[in-house]
């Protein structure tokens, strides 16, 4: 045993490559470390450490696909050592493979249940997956083990925030901020929590103080913009979004928000990157936030279908093929589960949403596509087509409705929801960055596309704080 250890001791040069590479990585000089770590990992039978460090360097450089390969090698040759499982978990999360990431984090905890870093990461993964009780348990253990660490406190705060426990979140995030007042990320999280708790003024105070205290940070300006917007301070919100956009000029999300606030002309539909980024960022906490918002659309649509198809509601028949456009995390699929008798096809342009939907196990096919592209490619006919809370990313509806009608099977149902604009308006781009549609316009667009509303309900589709958001939910069929 001793001899084999001696034989497997890497030569001094290899050790230096890894040591110096690790030191550069720790100093935040990932680019400089690459040549060292690539060489270390190229040595025949390189130790897991070499692959693992290379994975971390590539991850830091944003070369995620290569990082994943290196992390695979590290996990394989390191026999599942927790640091490399964690690295792979982080890389997978960054690649949008959050469930696989969760598996890795869980494996890391099982390999060494005492490892705080692993627990913390698993806690975050669980939190994002909406498994709040387990998440909070782990995040709390990690925090208790290192009560002086601002990062641990911040992560626990994050867990509370995700779980909707805003008072508890404020307590630990306040603590974290006191420990690391220069860290803009912590302040941004605390402001986000205040905003989620329905206290935009406090969110503004937190963010503004941090803007003065910390280095310029895109997250801070972004949450500051959201909070100001919530209070109707649109000009000030625009300033904040514009500042954020200057710091992250490639962000379609921010560009769209700036446009929505009048910083630029409103585009005819939302920038594709805006939709993908909003939902990639929120995928796993999306459902929780929708339920917290009192989201009613799935239930309303279910009852509309049951009214239109009493034999299905009674369990004597099943639905034909269903197309769920903008399926998100698969809420509609889960809602319709008992009625399904044929294919259920989901389409969404956020890969993270698709992954969440896939985890529900009810969709027969999931396509990560833009809705219009999906419709162009689609050749089948559907018994039910669903557009739940997705037309808020479209201004003009008529062309889309025409495409939809073409995909309805004889007697098929088209269910859609929109946010209500003023009755006389056609459509408007709201401050929230979402489109709203006027009733008359919607009816006209349906008629123009050859669709007849079987039911047209105008009522609150969700609540924002105390305020109901009015919408129209329609069940339509092909006319004539």
């Amino acid at each position: 045993m001793l001899a084999s250890v001696a034989e497997s001791t890497p030569p001094a040069a290899l050790m230096r490559l890894m040591e110096r590479g690790a030191a550069l990585l720790a100093e935040g000089r990932a680019a400089e470390s690459l040549e060292l770590l690539q060489r270390a990992a190229s040595v025949p039978d390189a130790p897991a450490l070499a692959h693992g460090l290379l994975a971390e360097a590539l991850e830091a450089e944003g070369r995620l696909d290569e990082a994943l390969l290196a992390a695979d090698r590290a996990v394989r040759s390191g026999e599942g050592a927790p640091p490399w499982l964690r690295a792979r978990a982080r890389i997978r999360r960054a690649l949008g493979q959050s469930l696989a990431g969760l598996d890795d984090a869980a494996a890391a905890v099982m390999a060494d249940p005492s490892d705080i870093e692993s627990k913390s990461l698993l806690g975050i993964c669980l939190s994002e997956a909406g498994r709040h009780d387990e998440a909070l348990l782990l995040l709390h253990q990690a925090f208790s083990a290192e009560p002086g660490s601002a990062q641990r406190a911040a992560m626990l705060g994050f867990g509370f925030l995700r779980a909707g426990r805003h008072a508890a979140a404020e307590e630990v995030l306040g603590l974290a901020e006191a420990m690391a007042p220069q860290a803009p990320g912590i302040a941004a999280l605390r402001a986000q929590n205040a905003l989620a708790a329905g206290e935009p003024e406090r969110a503004i105070a937190i963010a503004e103080a941090a803007v003065h205290r910390c280095a310029a940070d895109v997250r801070l300006f972004s949450v500051l913009g959201q909070a100001r917007q919530r209070l109707g301070q649109d000009a000030a919100a625009l300033d904040a979004y514009a500042a954020a956009l200057r710091l992250d000029p490639g962000s379609g999300y921010l560009r769209h928000l700036v446009a929505a606030l009048g910083g630029d002309a409103a585009p005819a539909r939302a920038d594709g990157r805006y939709v993908a980024e909003v939902f990639d960022g929120y995928a796993s906490r999306f459902e929780a936030s929708l339920f917290a918002l009192g989201y009613r659309v799935p239930g309303m649509m279910l009852r509309m279908i049951e009214r239109a198809r009493p034999e299905v509601a009674a369990g004597r028949a099943k639905l034909g093929p269903v197309l769920d456009l903008g399926c998100g995390t698969g809420l509609m699929g889960a809602t319709l589960h008992d009625l399904l008798g044929d294919a259920l096809v989901g389409v969404d342009m956020s890969s993270r949403m698709i992954e969440e939907a896939r985890a529900k196990g009810v969709y027969t096919r999931l396509d990560c596509l833009d809705i219009e592209a999906a419709l162009r490619a689609e050749e089948g006919l559907y018994d039910v087509i669903l557009l739940a809370d997705v037309l808020c990313y479209f201004g003009e509806l008529a062309p889309l409705l025409r495409q939809l009608r073409a995909r309805l099977a004889p007697g098929g149902l088209l269910l859609l929801s929109v946010e209500a604009a003023a009755p006389e308006a056609r459509w408007t781009l709201a401050r929230s960055g979402r489109y709203a549609h006027g009733e008359a316009y919607l009816r006209a667009a349906l008629a123009e596309a050859g669709l007849v509303a079987r039911e047209f309900r105008s009522e609150p589709i969700r609540w924002e704080g105390e305020d109901p958001v009015q919408g129209h939910v329609v069940c339509a069929m092909a006319g004539g």
Binding site: A13, L17, R20, A31, E32, R39, A215, A216, R246, P249
Partner: protein
């Protein structure tokens, strides 16, 4: 050594030398030589130990004594030859190498030295045959084989060179040199790009080979891929941490990446292994200067000049150090001594404008014309891109300073507000800077071209020309990291100089315009510039105040009853005449104080020297506070300690003036004739405070005294200052952007018409 008989002492000294510890042998050898000065062996060994320890200037005397005492011995001749060779005296070195060979025809090192002389004088075939001869005597010597390979590359026999290198690459050799020659041979054989790819493949196959890592680094550098080169140097260093050539390569690469502390460390390690390498000593001095360790930098450079004799670049760097210490006369003398183009450049940019005499517009103009003439030789032909149909002009910006740097603070708002429908902006960033200002440049840029540190001139010119620009604005000048000189070959039909070492005319052929204003260069100033003057309607810059700047503090004189003056400019600007003026002001105001704050004052010996000069100028030091540098936010807050900024002259404040005004503190300036001499005048006029500018030293002193006596007026001015500056054209981005667009269009339309 007292207890040891001479023979044993000598044996111990020789053992030290053999062990690579020549410095340890020196005391013994000196004592022995003193006791027996006629002993050739002792003199020779003392000379060799001195050379090996890097004390080149002292080595010549004992070597000459040895040569005299033992005229038939080859070694003193060889050592003297080597010494002359290191000091750049190639002809004498050649004669002495031949003398050594006449005494011992098989002297391998002399053959190698002579070969090196032959190669450097463009006789590579002769070098190769000398080296083949040397290899007959020492077939195992890897160094000789490398030198032969190098000579072969230079003789156009790259394939033969690669064959020579196969053996050392397999068995190992001096990794850094081996890698460099290998890279040279690969490039000669396959061209730069293919050579780089081959070196990459080899890295995979031989991941632990330091020579190949060094070779890859060299090839990346030649390809303009400085970041990859740095990483490869890091790998080479990890694989061969004791190789001086690799450490030198790493040090230079780190320096180009502005990581001066790490570069200094690498230079120190390299020098410990190769004390007689002039480039390392110069590099070390440069890093010390960049780290504001000015007195150490001056010592290091002076020692290098002593050891290796006069060297243009070493003198030029020493001139920069001296001016940073506030020694304008000494710096000017050193710059002149450097001679050649260095003298002209320094006189025009980094040293001359600070000097009371050399900084006058007429003197600068003469230098600019001389430089212009010198740079007009060997210009590469240029063809303008075909005119585009659409109306947008393609505007290039080139600088190393798109970030938190005066160039950033003084240009970003103007660039941001250049109308997008009129200008397509291409930014050529020499290296990368992090932070918010950098992000703002990126946000405005229609195209971002990162030029990695160390990108060769030819490659940069090709990239600039490849962008088919209509107008190119240069924002770095001849200062550190600037590439203004390159633009003499022209990269756009219209080339303009703007902020960034904009102290005087650039004296650069094909830089057509100087972006300026009527205060910087009023009518009649045209003869001082080799460029045409492109005047903005307001000031020539647009200041972006830092968002995190603290609020304006109340006037300190309001509490103390007496004025506190301040100057937060660098010491290079503070001349003896400035000190004398300040002394007169403080003399007249017995309660007044003066606060100075700059990097150089944090360097002990520099501060002592400055203190002595201040005392000599008659300043009452009891009323002068001196501080080293502080972080930027603290520097801004420190304006709360002062009532009036006293601007230095002849090189006036630029960004410092804007910051002082933003922090509520008015600036009293003496207007000079050079561009640098009128920065402050331009900014003050632009915010409506031209009455704070004076035109003689007498007026400077009397006006300071008069202003200091009216504390209520100072308080009132201070209270409204930030609002005044914010509302002025100095901070009006949209207005500036529109004006800039108009003058750029004017320059474009007048491009084919002579001045």
């Amino acid at each position: 050594m007292d207890g040891l008989p001479g023979r044993e002492a000598l044996a111990a000294a020789l053992a030290d030398m053999a062990a690579g510890q020549p410095a340890r042998a020196l005391p013994t050898l000196r004592a022995l030589v003193e006791a027996a000065p006629e002993d050739a062996v002792l003199q020779l060994n003392l000379g060799m130990a001195l050379m090996d320890a890097g004390h080149l200037s002292e080595a010549e005397a004992p070597l000459l004594a040895a040569a005299q005492a033992a005229p038939r011995h080859p070694e003193p001749c060889f050592r003297l030859a080597r010494l002359r060779h290191l000091r750049g005296d190639t002809p004498t070195a050649e004669t002495l190498y031949r003398a050594a060979l006449a005494r011992a025809p098989g002297h391998v090192a002399a053959l190698a030295g002579l070969a090196e002389v032959a190669r450097s004088l463009g006789r590579p075939e002769e070098a190769a045959s000398l080296l083949r001869e040397a290899l007959l005597h020492a077939p195992q010597d890897a160094g000789l084989r490398l030198a032969l390979a190098r000579a072969l590359v230079h003789s156009g026999e790259a394939a033969a060179a690669l064959e020579e290198l196969a053996e050392p690459l397999r068995r190992g050799g001096p990794a850094g040199r081996l890698g460099a020659v290998w890279a040279e041979a690969l490039r000669a054989r396959h061209g730069s790009e293919r050579a780089c790819a081959l070196a990459r493949e080899q890295a995979q196959a031989h991941p632990l080979c330091a020579a190949r890592a060094a070779g890859l680094a060299v090839l990346c550098e030649a390809e303009g891929r400085g970041a990859a080169a740095l990483s490869a140097w890091r790998a080479a260093e990890a694989l061969a941490p004791e190789d001086p050539d690799i450490l030198a390569g790493l040090a230079q690469s780190l320096a180009r990446h502005r990581d001066h502390a790490a570069a200094l460390d690498a230079f120190d390690r390299a020098i410990a292994l190769a004390p007689d390498e002039p480039a390392l000593r110069l590099g070390r001095g440069e890093q010390l200067w960049r780290l504001h360790r000015l007195s150490e930098a001056a010592d290091a450079l002076r020692a290098a000049l002593r050891d290796f004799g006069p060297d243009e670049r070493t003198r030029a760097t020493l001139a920069l150090v001296l001016v940073s210490q506030g020694l304008q006369d000494e710096a000017m003398a050193e710059a002149e001594a450097a001679g050649g183009e260095n003298a002209l450049l320094l006189g025009l940019t980094s040293v001359g404008p600070y000097h009371p005499e050399a900084g006058r517009a007429e003197v600068l103009a003469a230098r600019a014309r001389a430089l212009h003439q010198r740079l007009s030789e060997g210009l590469l032909p240029y063809t303008a891109p075909p005119p585009r149909a659409e109306g947008r002009l393609r505007l290039g910006l080139i600088s190393a300073h798109f970030g938190k740097h005066p160039v950033g603070w003084l240009t970003v708002a103007g660039i941001e507000h250049l109308p997008r429908e009129q200008f397509e902006v291409h930014v050529f960033s020499l290296g990368d800077r992090p932070g918010e200002i950098a992000a703002r440049f990126r946000a405005r840029a229609d195209a971002w071209h990162l030029v990695e540190p160390g990108t060769p001139d030819a490659m940069l010119l090709e990239r600039l020309r490849g962008a088919e620009l209509d107008i190119l604005i240069e924002l770095g000048g001849h200062g550190q990291g600037g590439r203004a000189r390159l633009l003499r070959h022209r990269a756009a039909p219209v080339q303009i100089k703007w902020v960034g070492s904009q102290a005087a005319s650039t004296g650069t052929p094909n830089i057509d315009w100087m972006l300026t204003d009527r205060w910087e260069t009023p009518e009649g100033f045209e003869p001082y510039y080799t460029e045409r003057l492109l005047r903005m309607p307001d000031g020539y810059v647009c200041y972006s105040p830092p968002p995190a700047a603290p609020p304006v503090a109340p006037s300190p004189a309001g509490f103390s009853g007496a004025v506190t003056f301040g100057c937060y400019n660098n010491l290079a600007k503070v001349t003896p005449r400035v000190l004398a003026a300040w002394a007169r002001i403080l003399d007249a105001l017995p309660e007044a104080r003066l606060v100075l704050r700059t990097h150089a004052l944090g360097d002990g010996p520099t501060r002592e020297g400055f203190t002595a000069r201040a005392r000599a100028a008659g300043l009452d030091l009891a009323r002068v506070e001196m501080h080293g540098a502080v972080p930027h936010d603290q520097l801004l807050a420190a304006y709360g300690e002062i009532d009036i900024s006293l601007d230095p002259f002849p090189y006036t404040g630029g960004l410092t003036v804007c910051e002082s005004l933003w922090m509520g503190v008015p600036v009293l300036t003496l207007v000079g004739s050079s561009f640098a001499g009128r920065h402050a005048f331009s900014h003050l006029s632009n915010v409506g405070l031209a009455d704070w500018a004076v035109f003689s030293e007498e007026a400077y002193v009397s006006e300071a005294i008069r202003r200091a006596r009216d504390i209520p007026a100072l308080a009132a001015l201070r209270a409204g200052m930030r609002a005044r500056v914010a509302a002025s054209p100095l901070c009006d981005g949209p207005r500036f952007g529109a004006h800039l667009a108009a003058v750029l269009r004017e320059a474009w339309e007048r491009r084919d018409r002579p001045a």
